[in-house]
Point group: C2
């Protein structure tokens, strides 16, 4: 049995290594690659991805999993070997259900779609992407249909990113959240408008970068096992548990963008850096779901990084870094500026109150498209209508409307957005639980100390990697099911203070 | 037949893409990778290299080459398809003659050897590498023995790097060269010593970098299809014909190092950037031999970059970049400083006259080791003796002696060094031929114009990639065989002026 397990582990490690090599090529493309490298790079990444997929869907993997079933059943579910076999089987069964030709056609379509989108968005040209999106919708339904027996056609797609979640339960969760957030937003907008001009001055990029890196080093991001580089669209990527990198961007006339993007990505990265090294090279060496991953980026970005306690400690250092810009700006003015609530068009720049409304609009439109109650040609109008009704604003044209997010243009329609709000909900849930054990955490944050919080997150979440699903993790950590209550309490506490 | 050719081309492109992916991982390791990334990176590069080797030695490649033989023979040798089949067959037959297990064992041994060397060199500890080198010598002989019928046991190893060259012919060539260089060196050393203190001041790295990049851009290095990054040991690497990168290093207290290393690597890179795009993804899309490659780095570094005409144009710009350091230094003083001849211990820092003596010492010692007339344990002593007799100096210990170059510690013994001097010889040979057609080149260099020279090199050398061997290329370009005469004439002209 040990031979079979070793065989499986060796195969999985090679697959992980092929995927990691692809990730290095992708990182290079997004950071340093000269323009001339693009054509070959697409081909090279496609090859690595195909080789990894071929190896993972090799029937030998299926046979090994069959042979290992009795061993798996002899173990406690929490045993590492049991978890490895379980997670591998889940991924394997998912991979082999999708016909290779369908997957290849979809990948080619998605790559083309991304190219189309990169020119269509600046040109505000929805017509250019419409036929593409119609095909994407068709592909998305066909991918979902590889998993018959679903309650809602979006369920298999949601399951890719957030294992175990379903359209209906998310719809209920989001409806509850909306019922709480909308009155909160209305209340806030009734107050005098916050002056956030202090963060819209000129901030030299090199100093922004130094300050941001100082911050995330203190939070606990390990630069011996990572680094930060510049890119257009910030992301976290991992080449092994010893090399977890982040990328960021800076706007010299808007301090928040680079600073909070840096902290956000460091949250994703600290999750991956915290995974137990014994899982290296296996499918367990990954964050467990889109939602849990986002819970960690948002926890560090918002719950910690936009808190009053945090800036009580760091604001004098920020003032010393930018004395001309912030020397005469009070902590209170700065704190209010970085937490200003104001309906806006762009999701990634939204404040903590309106952010989830952006997500819900996309989630609802995805479901409507998949259900067939909305046609792609009517999508821009539906988008505008929802922004008007939910946020009271609407974009001129589609560039900052339905064309703003890359997800639908380079991936499936369905399952792309719920993780962001699930992450927000879980960030507050996990943070509250950490405080039950360590009520001293907020005052530590006020002294720039994060060891207790990071240690608790590592012990309870990070080290497990993909061993437990999001649901299982929530139950293990809180003893209950996923609930919006801590998140609502957090938002009310922060924004009604 | 077209189907077979397409099949072969597709397979070759995948193999090239796997090797290119490995090159990206290697580049990243040498430039940006954090320390924590090392263990997995070695594994990942090993996997890509193994996959590429497995695919290339697949018997299907052999069958395709057999099937394509009649087609190949129906074509002129210069036809692209004929060249592709010929070069692929040559590489294939070389690859399949080496037993996979021998290759794998050697690669593992070499990786370990590199690790050992990285600590043994700073510790001046030859004893630590001696048993390793003994094994390397054994491996090198076994690799050579995979190619029976050689005249000298070094021939197959030399052939890996410089197709068609043999130990005996190189020995003759080098003996002739030595007979010319030694009296020249003696004559130069009889002159008053050159004062090169002007290039040993403090030169800010950022300005060195800007100046160097300005220079190579004007030489013709295309930054849209390449970039320059910092590393410990400068190198050129290629991920596709659209992405040919160089790396460099700077010493703030020694101007020559960064500047000429930058020009040197750009020479390698302009060669690769100049290969005809129709060869992309095939074995033809590479420089043809170590010697020809080095001829281009040395041509641009020395024949152009250390010439009086070149600095007649660029020295005022260098003075403007470093006014404090060079404002009062005359062109003549600077020119003499960058061309100062002085026997020294380190090959990579040697001047143009002594450089080849460093190479010949290594070449002779390699042959003696392979022949069995020298034992590894006696290598340090033999090294010291040769440095004393040939250059009149010797190092204390072995750190700057036999431990200085990585080649024997991370590769085979044999065939590692001759390319450097073959490159010097060919650099003058090709340059003289360019001047036959374009006598205006030197005066163009004096105006900072390089289009004619680069155009000639592209037309006659670069665009062909690996289509012709070094010998064939020399014959095509000069109408004759490789000869040291133009190189000697160049050295005498320059250093006896």
């Amino acid at each position: 049995m040990q031979n079979k397990l070793d065989d499986l582990k060796n195969r999985l490690q090679e697959i992980e290594d092929l995927n990691s090599a692809g990730a290095v090529l992708n990182w290079d493309q997004a950071t340093y690659m000269p323009p001339g490298g693009a054509p070959a790079r697409g081909r090279q990444m496609g090859l690595l991805s195909r080789l990894a997929h071929e190896r993972f869907t090799d029937p030998v993997i299926g046979h090994l999993l069959d042979d290992l079933r009795s061993y798996e059943e002899s173990l406690e579910p929490e045993h590492d070997d049991a978890a490895l076999i379980r997670v591998t089987r889940r991924n394997y069964e998912r991979s082999v259900r999708i016909p290779p030709q369908l997957m290849a056609n979809f990948n080619e379509h998605a790559a083309l779609g991304y190219q189309t989108w990169t020119t269509a968005r600046p040109a505000d040209d929805f017509a250019a992407v419409q036929p593409h999106l119609e095909k994407t919708l068709d592909f998305s339904r066909r991918l979902a249909d590889c998993f018959p027996g679903y309650d809602h056609i979006a369920d298999p797609l949601i399951n890719f990113a957030d294992e175990g979640m379903k359209a209906e339960s998310i719809r209920v969760l989001f409806a509850d959240l909306r019922a709480q957030v909308v009155p909160l937003l209305r209340h806030i907008l009734d107050q005098p408008e916050v002056d956030d001009s202090c963060i819209h001055q000129t901030f030299a990029e090199v100093k922004q970068r130094q300050f941001g890196e100082m911050i995330i080093r203190q939070l606990g991001y390990d630069f011996n096992r990572g680094r930060q580089d510049k890119t257009h669209h910030p992301f976290m990527t991992k080449f092994s548990l010893g090399d977890v990198r982040i990328t960021t961007r800076f706007e010299e006339d808007y301090l928040s963008n680079g600073l909070f993007s840096t902290i956000h990505e460091s949250g994703h990265a600290m999750y991956e850096q915290g995974i137990d090294m014994k899982y290296e090279g296996s499918p367990l060496a990954h964050g467990t779901s889109a939602g849990v991953h986002e819970s960690q980026s948002r926890l560090w970005e918002n719950v910690v990084g936009r808190s009053r306690a945090f800036w009580g400690h760091y604001y004098p250092q920020l003032q010393a870094t930018f004395p001309q810009q912030l020397g005469d700006v009070s902590l209170n003015t700065f704190y209010n500026a970085i937490n200003k609530v104001q309906p806006s068009l762009i999701r990634t720049e939204a404040d903590q109150i309106t952010y989830d409304l952006h997500v819900m609009i996309r989630f609802d439109l995805e479901l409507a498209l998949l259900e067939g109650s909305l046609e792609v040609k009517d999508l821009p109008e539906a988008w505008q209508a929802r922004y008007q009704s939910d946020l009271g604003i609407s974009a001129e044209g589609n560039r900052d409307g339905v064309l703003q997010d890359v997800h639908w243009y380079a991936g499936v329609i369905g399952g792309s957005f719920q993780g962001y709000t699930l992450g927000n909900i879980m960030s507050a849930l996990f943070y509250r639980q950490a405080l039950v054990t360590h009520p001293e955490i907020p005052s530590q944050i006020g002294r720039g100390e994060f060891d207790t919080l990071l240690g608790w997150l590592r012990e309870n979440i990070y080290r497990h990697g993909a061993k437990f699903t999001a649901d299982e993790l929530v139950r293990r950590v809180t003893g209950g099911e996923l609930t919006i209550e801590p998140y609502i309490a957090y938002l009310r506490g922060k924004f009604l203070e």
